[in-house]
């Protein structure tokens, strides 16, 4: 009965008018940034983070989560109608979704994407509801060595799963950890690398860095190649998929939901990977794999379900262990910490109304998106036609306002610009921003737990391999680091 009481508590928080409003706003803004190719959910959450100061913590988290899953819905619209992914988790949706649109089945593609997302989102939330408290209780027994090992495993996995060069991803993670050491030493309070600047005393702010790497850098990249894209013009009719569509999609949606849920828990860009793996799996299981890429509905249903389930489950490690596993989870952690709330094993016990309210709001938000988005598709199509010449200055202005509103500090604007330039150049050289931002947040946790572990063990490093959980995590990390070295070479340059 405890469980029902918890869910009841969740409803009492999520269904207050103000939280419903924020849930709605979050989902709407999320869909918007998902639809627009120029700005991703990371940039949008970073921007709105600064506006959540004055809100209740529950409202803040509810709105920010809405942006995240809303973006997953919105991204598929752009993929299907324009053949440009609105955000990275919708890349594979382009393959069959756009083909379907060209065949006059845009409605069915959009419809199944929305329903698949809704079903998978619900599955993900239910899983989150059961798994997070369990994991949280288990984590109560974790000490500093376990936390150090967890952060290490998380970062290594993220580097491993990033597309492109592993060594470059590891370099980005190291640079992020180094950036995290700027400011006061978390144990002794001594200043490091601040060069006398007041702003840096608290370290690099998460928001200016994230806005630079994911907002400004993205805009600069787009400015380099302003091109025109054509929105699919034909009338979209029949958003309700027909019986055959449902029959073809049922299994892909079910498989995508489960797959996405488990992949989402792992560190890394869960939704992105989940969508790719789901597409590959559906293609392999299909009796007609050769038709994939020509507009089969399974190629839309599976990946869209997978990325939404992963969106929900990626909250599990953050809420139950206090370890963010992706750039966007790092920002959520920032949002909680701003309100003086430390996510971790004690989170659910200490803030039940926040946890359960948040969970229930995700149900509500998923339902809202389903009801709202299908009728609003016409509006999103019009939004897509906004010329980049207007969109880009607006995104830049939002970045500027977002960073300035944080502390009314112009120095932070400079930091954002610097990270924007750095991020743009690094991206051109094949380095990605996600490991950096995650490392920036994990850095202080990692340093503190490492130093505490050594204090406990009197400088003996064997503490990391003699404790069972810790040893397993370290072994996993080592395996991921050694595998690329010993793996038989496939092709030169691989």
């Amino acid at each position: 009965m405890d469980f029902l009481a918890d869910v009841g508590l969740g409803f009492s928080v999520a269904l207050t008018p103000i939280n419903l409003l924020f849930c709605f706003l979050g989902s709407l803004v999320g869909t918007l940034v998902g639809v627009l190719p120029g700005l991703g959910p990371v940039g949008a959450v970073a921007f709105l983070l600064s506006l959540t100061f004055k809100m209740e913590p529950a409202s803040a988290v509810i709105m920010l989560a809405g942006i995240y899953y809303g973006a997953m819905y919105g991204g598929s619209t752009t993929s299907i109608l324009v053949n440009i992914p609105g955000e990275t988790a919708s890349v594979v949706t382009c393959l069959d979704g756009y083909r379907m649109a060209r065949q006059g089945r845009a409605g069915a593609a959009l419809g199944i994407a929305a329903f698949g997302s809704f079903i998978a989102g619900t599955v993900g939330v239910i899983g989150l509801m059961f798994l997070a408290p369990l994991l949280g209780r288990a984590a109560l027994r974790f000490g500093p060595p376990e936390f150090f090992a967890l952060t290490l495993t998380g970062l290594t996995l993220v580097a491993y799963l990033t597309q492109g060069s592993i060594i470059k991803a590891l370099i980005m993670a190291t640079l992020g950890l180094l950036a995290g050491t700027v400011g006061m030493d978390p144990i002794s309070g001594q200043e490091r690398f601040t060069y006398g600047t007041l702003t840096l005393r608290d370290g690099f702010g998460l928001v200016p860095v994230a806005m630079g790497l994911f907002g400004i850098a993205e805009v600069l990249e787009n400015l380099a190649h302003i091109g025109s894209h054509s929105v699919y013009e034909a009338k979209i009719k029949g958003l309700w998929p027909n019986a055959k569509d449902w029959k073809d999609s049922a299994r892909p949606i079910a498989r995508g939901s489960l797959l996405g849920f488990f992949l989402g828990i792992l560190p890394g860009p869960g939704p992105v990977i989940a969508s790719f793996v789901s597409y590959a799996m559906e293609k392999r299981l299909s009796p007609y794999p050769e038709k994939f890429g020509t507009g089969v509905i399974e190629g839309v249903a599976g990946p869209e379900a997978a990325n939404n389930a992963a969106t929900a489950s990626s909250f599990i490690p953050l809420l139950s262990l206090g370890i963010p596993t992706s750039a966007i989870m790092a920002l959520f952690m920032g949002a909680l910490v701003i309100h003086g709330i430390q996510p971790g094993p004690l989170f659910i016990a200490k803030y039940p109304e926040l946890f359960w309210g948040f969970i229930v709001s995700m149900y509500v938000g998923n339902a809202m998106l389903l009801v709202l988005n299908l009728p609003l598709i016409g509006m999103w199509v019009r939004v897509l036609k906004t010329p980049y010449g207007i969109l880009c200055p607006l995104i830049l202005l939002f970045c500027l306002i977002g960073v300035y509103s944080l502390n009314a500090n112009v120095v932070e604007i400079t930091i954002m610009i610097a990270f924007g330039i750095g991020g743009f150049l690094m991206r051109r050289a094949g380095f990605e921003g996600a490991p950096f931002i995650l490392a920036l947040v994990l850095g202080p946790i990692m340093e503190t737990s490492l130093r505490q572990s050594l204090l406990i063990s009197r400088g003996n490093f064997s503490i990391f391999v003699t404790r069972p959980i810790c040893a397993v995590l370290i072994a996993v990390t080592a395996a991921f680091l050694i595998w690329p070295v010993i793996r038989p070479k496939k092709k030169p340059g691989g």
Binding site: S50, R192, L454, F461
Partner: protein
């Protein structure tokens, strides 16, 4: 390949610099690690990783995927945009949000996609007013009023 060498060289230099800087802070011992312990370890890690990148680049086993070439017009747009962001940061607190935003929008709108002046001024004015109304008044963000004193 050459570009990877250049990137690795820059990273090596950075790692060296951080190592030297961290050297000024107390390292402590493994029993009682102090302030420099973590950054110095990371600096060494960075040196090892960028050394590996350099070595792999030399033997040609690190793939360099060339990014799309940016045309001169693209670089100009990027340059103007960055310059305007810096100018915005410099003048924001002196001239105030409304004026700074108005100027920023005019120049960005013109630089990114030249369009006729009347439209540019209308869009810039609307953006400045609406964003100020939304953020400063509705959401209570402390945006500097500046010379206009609103």
């Amino acid at each position: 390949m050459r570009s990877n060498v250049a990137v690795a060289a820059v990273l090596l230099a950075l790692g060296g610099y951080i190592f030297v800087e961290a050297n000024r802070l107390p390292f402590g011992t493994f029993h009682v690690p102090q302030t420099a312990f973590f950054p110095k370890t990371l600096a060494i890690l960075l040196l090892i990783l960028s050394g590996t990148l350099l070595a792999r680049a030399f033997v040609g086993s690190e793939a360099w995927i060339p990014s799309e070439k940016i045309a001169p017009a693209g670089w100009i747009r990027i340059g103007v945009t960055l310059a305007m962001l810096a100018v915005f940061a410099l003048v924001l607190e002196r001239v105030g949000f409304l004026l700074a935003t108005f100027l920023l929008m005019i120049i960005l709108l013109r630089a990114i996609e030249a369009r006729d002046w009347r439209k540019v001024i209308a869009v810039a004015l609307a953006t400045a007013l609406i964003s100020y109304g939304l953020f400063a008044w509705l959401l209570g963000v402390p945006l500097p009023a500046g010379v206009l004193g609103i």
